[in-house]
Symmetry: D2
Subunit: 306 residues, 4 copies
Amino acid sequence: MNETKSYKWFHDYLAPHEAHTHGIKAIVFSKQSPFQQIEILETHSYGQCLVLDGKMQSSEADEFIYHEALVHPALLTHPDPRHVLIVGGGEGATLREILRHRSVEKVLMVDIDQEVVEACRAHLPKWHRGAFDDPRTELRFCDARKYLEETDTIYDVIIIDISEPVEEGPAYLLYTREFYQMVTQRLGPSGIISLQAGTTSVIHLLNFSAVCQTLRTSFPTVSPYQAIIPSFGLPWGFALASKNFDPQALTPQEVDRRIAERITGDLHYYDGLLHQGQFILPKHVRVQMEKEERIIEDNQPLFTYN
Amino acid sequence: MNETKSYKWFHDYLAPHEAHTHGIKAIVFSKQSPFQQIEILETHSYGQCLVLDGKMQSSEADEFIYHEALVHPALLTHPDPRHVLIVGGGEGATLREILRHRSVEKVLMVDIDQEVVEACRAHLPKWHRGAFDDPRTELRFCDARKYLEETDTIYDVIIIDISEPVEEGPAYLLYTREFYQMVTQRLGPSGIISLQAGTTSVIHLLNFSAVCQTLRTSFPTVSPYQAIIPSFGLPWGFALASKNFDPQALTPQEVDRRIAERITGDLHYYDGLLHQGQFILPKHVRVQMEKEERIIEDNQPLFTYN
Amino acid sequence: MNETKSYKWFHDYLAPHEAHTHGIKAIVFSKQSPFQQIEILETHSYGQCLVLDGKMQSSEADEFIYHEALVHPALLTHPDPRHVLIVGGGEGATLREILRHRSVEKVLMVDIDQEVVEACRAHLPKWHRGAFDDPRTELRFCDARKYLEETDTIYDVIIIDISEPVEEGPAYLLYTREFYQMVTQRLGPSGIISLQAGTTSVIHLLNFSAVCQTLRTSFPTVSPYQAIIPSFGLPWGFALASKNFDPQALTPQEVDRRIAERITGDLHYYDGLLHQGQFILPKHVRVQMEKEERIIEDNQPLFTYN
Amino acid sequence: MNETKSYKWFHDYLAPHEAHTHGIKAIVFSKQSPFQQIEILETHSYGQCLVLDGKMQSSEADEFIYHEALVHPALLTHPDPRHVLIVGGGEGATLREILRHRSVEKVLMVDIDQEVVEACRAHLPKWHRGAFDDPRTELRFCDARKYLEETDTIYDVIIIDISEPVEEGPAYLLYTREFYQMVTQRLGPSGIISLQAGTTSVIHLLNFSAVCQTLRTSFPTVSPYQAIIPSFGLPWGFALASKNFDPQALTPQEVDRRIAERITGDLHYYDGLLHQGQFILPKHVRVQMEKEERIIEDNQPLFTYN
């Protein structure tokens, strides 16, 4: 083969006629689970990538951005996070970042798809780095709604790390008002959640603004923020929702102080300055979000393009 | 044709084995000029797009982000911009944004490629919106270095709006230390420049950090910043370089005050809050930039991937 | 651009998940007519190509194969073709090949889409080579069925040179039993027709066998044959249907003799030996065709993939 | 995923700017051997496909065409083939077709790449159908030139079933005058060989005519022929080279008689009629081949595009 030419390509469709296209070096793993098509692809630009139902989930080259952005704002805003629940989180990298917080005593990860977790555990050690074997970790494979209905455990922080709401996919009922109500009932009085919420590209805006609007039905403080994960092809939105503490009340200095005190090892993406910057969305995104009136409900779910 | 299938595709290569891929609705214009391949493509996601040598330059859907990000930080940081020079700027949208500043008395746009400007003037009225006909506008078609060598005009602000430094392309000698020296000599004592400087995606970081480092050889204040232009596929870097005024010294309130006083019409992307946020780069980008030691010179130019 | 990389691609879909993919050098012409999307693309491998509704019709590099294969078997099998009708034939190359026959006194070309013919006349002179200006040529722009219903002219040969039967496309009612009945009524007692009938690739066999079966409802002799036109991506089927003369009764020597006597200039694809070979289909295609029972009718039309 | 959209694609490059593109359902096998990249891909149109160094070798849907076309003309032209050598032949399907000949007593298959053979044996049972376990079969994994230099066995028929001559690939020294000299010395006085020799598409003609010309340095009778294997994207050329017997001297009836007498089971692609037709190449291919003067030699090898 000509060195400048790939002959196998992965098209990550961002819209019906738009894709982020990756030359494939190798297929590391490929399997249809009861819930979704699971693939681990080795790409030229981003190294290994977890792909579910044809959508990029995270890549070796920039998963640190996604996972630091998802975990640390919530845990650092909380004064003393001890018990943490992960909804989803297949790769084990969300778990890894949570376990870096010295205060954390127990993390339960509830993922519906055992085969995703097993594939990541076997093939993506650079992601989990042994986190599944940490004595503070517990794994369960079941529907997160069912778990929340049945448990009476109270959590300090809940991190929702699930794929996008795709029709007939495993995740769409984890984006509704009813689900967030369940979540809030299992949080302590200082409870905080964070989640990824789809792209912030206004051209493609499908669920980011609606998810934030829906969160407001259950939480007094909802703070949308964004991160740039190049392998995703589009800018990505997150939301932190909180019962009591406002993440934007923390100064960069205070965030840096908490990082130094509470987290083991170095962060690569996130620090106090970035904490401040990530909540500043472009004006047109803010305008669009202020106009949003949709509330996502179980019987009126929202589906993203796929 | 099946409605969900495009049969003509534009692959905007971001790396040798990575592309942002756009279904093409129509080719509005296509011509090889003496300097580059010029195309105006109508895409499904982003409407009309200007493409030079196979690289996306700006799109109907999000050109407002690129052009507001390029122009307003520099002009608003300057206390009273009257004379402005554009190096490049083919679409006429940089010109359009500059002309919205009430203080501006004269704008000279120097673009090497008359055919790009004529194509944009004829086919992209949504971009220029009559800016070429404004009595304050002057156009010249020549090499910007040649112009700067020969002129003795002094400018308040110089906006460098050129394509990426491609081997044998028209732009690579407009990214060197020698060029920035020429630029600084044609600026008044409060002079400010801004320019696009390539992607800030660390995986693809080729020239952003080197351009900023090179600017520091000519300017006491260099402020890198970034914007997300979804049609570009990767996050994009800009730099503001200044002889006297520091853009980061302006509060959001002061920026909003200047916008209200000085600019006609509404901005869609940029405001005081965004001004503050745009200078906050992720930690790993800052770390990477601090390590940068390359200075780009005429006899040691830098070429981007194409 | 890297020389080994095209950045605009035409995907000619051969099946839902299969395409023949062509790097596009330039879009020479592009227009939506009342009937179809018309494009003339310049490709790297095949030069200029006429593309209708996203399907390759003929290319500069190998249109000689398609047009010689379509025209000469029918005209040489007829003892003395003087009056010829073309149904379709937009490029003017079918016309060109017919006019090379010295016996031909008059050719009427009936194409529904005047814009296709005008585009080809203006942009594809290598195809028609002045055939539209030959005094023996007459052009009409109307539905071929309407023309056949109203005319009382009798033809020696009718060449059906239309695009594939696509739902809502202009051609599907020109593949039915009722249409072939009209055709046979406008042919003299030695009358012969020929037509392209879709791919002979068994994997993709959609209409070739059904078209041949349908022709048998109107003609005593139906001779399927095939040609390889590389730009089509798949092997291509044709059929010659005849009231009286059997093309396979001609020896290679007799065909070569008729070519020498009747045709001006040299043929590049077709000769007596090839005449013999083209009717020999692979065994599995013959088996498949013998099993075919479908008759295509106006109220039971057949649509190809698109 | 939308059902009409594949998100993994295999581009089989036919030329620098042309590809036959296949939606990938699954990667069944993928490994870099010491000689080449080996992949078994499941595609939508053609089922499982063996792909070496990014080039389609054979597919589930139409491998029967390739292997019948390669094997039977040579074995049926020989009066009594008992000892057969396969050079290459990884899939085991060439072996399978040879073993169907009742006269065959012994087949030696010499393939340089044991990992290809093992992958095919494990994953492509539809190809080999147990042929590797036939008591008449012997396998060796070594360079065919080395084997031919060292052996003193005499063969009735030698089938050369190797990939195209790619620079630094394993096959290019098996297309030279010197190699064919070795081959002819290991053949009996009625000896016959056959081989695949690249595309017959004139637009892409790289080695078909030169291979045939080179064969003429070693064999008195060289009979080029072609077959259409849709998964290859282009028409494909073969050559039969013979010391004594001319395949074109056999009538269709004689071929059919030999098939009935000598071969077990039914053929799907090949019969007496097809035998006759396959040697009839289009006029322009014959003209091109008559002009060919290149002789491929060890120190002047020929490389195909890849």
